[in-house]
Amino acid sequence: MTLIYIANQLQGGGFTLSEWQSEMREYLRSEYESAVILSAGGVRSDVTQSDWGYMGSLLKKQYQYLDSFASDIANNPAAWLNGNALFNRMQLYSDSAYTALENMLARKMAQNGFTEEKNMLGTADHCNGCLAQTAKGWSPIGSLVPIGQRDCIVKCKCAMKYRKPTGNGGYAYA
């Protein structure tokens, strides 16, 4: 079920608000699960209990935002059941999974001894925050403003590169 279908169903009266919310939760859950699996090396890798727990904490936050969104719709249906505002806001929830993927990767890299990170601009218009982080070049891991916390928030399409010293003067890159 696509996101736009879920939006259209609510606007067209095919879904009640609770059905819409339930579909949104499932949609988000599958996006976040996909992100954690990708960051961990696929379904055959050992996604740890800690990885799932971390994903859960990120997802729970989105569920809370979603609950608040549902209340906004219930309180003012006219503002959301016509036009593009509903789908536009729904997209932000989906976009948050991209920043979650980056958060999970950063966490995994730090756990595995990677010591430096570098911002790579994505294929999009760039906010000042992303340009500033990119200009810093290679930096100690955790020192750059994380993707999702800059001016463009969850719309960010940047990626991070990671490296660690090999001991012979070179670096191993992830």
Partner: protein, 100 residues
């Protein structure tokens, strides 16, 4: 021709109790892998089903190197940069949003 009756908007769901997150079982993992394959760029189909790099028996298209933390194309040995994975994930997300 009968017209579809519009459902009443109703009330929101109650917040999910506890952490609300279940660890996926094998069937769920298979569904997620299929979801990826259906929405990712074609060259990354099978990525979620990557075998560990030590697995010499599997016929998977990709392997995952748990030491270097990267995916590798089994046939060519090409290491896939993380930036490529991010872009593939962005395409996956767009297709799931819009169906195209």
């Amino acid at each position: 021709m009968a017209t579809q009756r519009r459902k009443p908007l109703g009330t929101p769901l109650r917040p999910i109790g506890g952490d609300g997150v279940r660890i996926p079982d094998k069937q769920r993992l298979a569904e997620l892998s299929a979801l990826w394959d259906a929405n990712c760029p074609p060259q990354y189909r099978g990525l979620m089903d990557a075998a560990p790099v030590s697995d010499k028996v599997s016929q998977s298209r990709f392997v995952y190197d748990n030491t270097r933390l990267c995916y590798i194309v089994r046939k060519t040995g090409r290491k896939i940069p993380q930036v490529e994975i991010n872009r593939a994930f962005a395409v996956f997300q767009r297709k799931r949003k819009l169906g195209r």
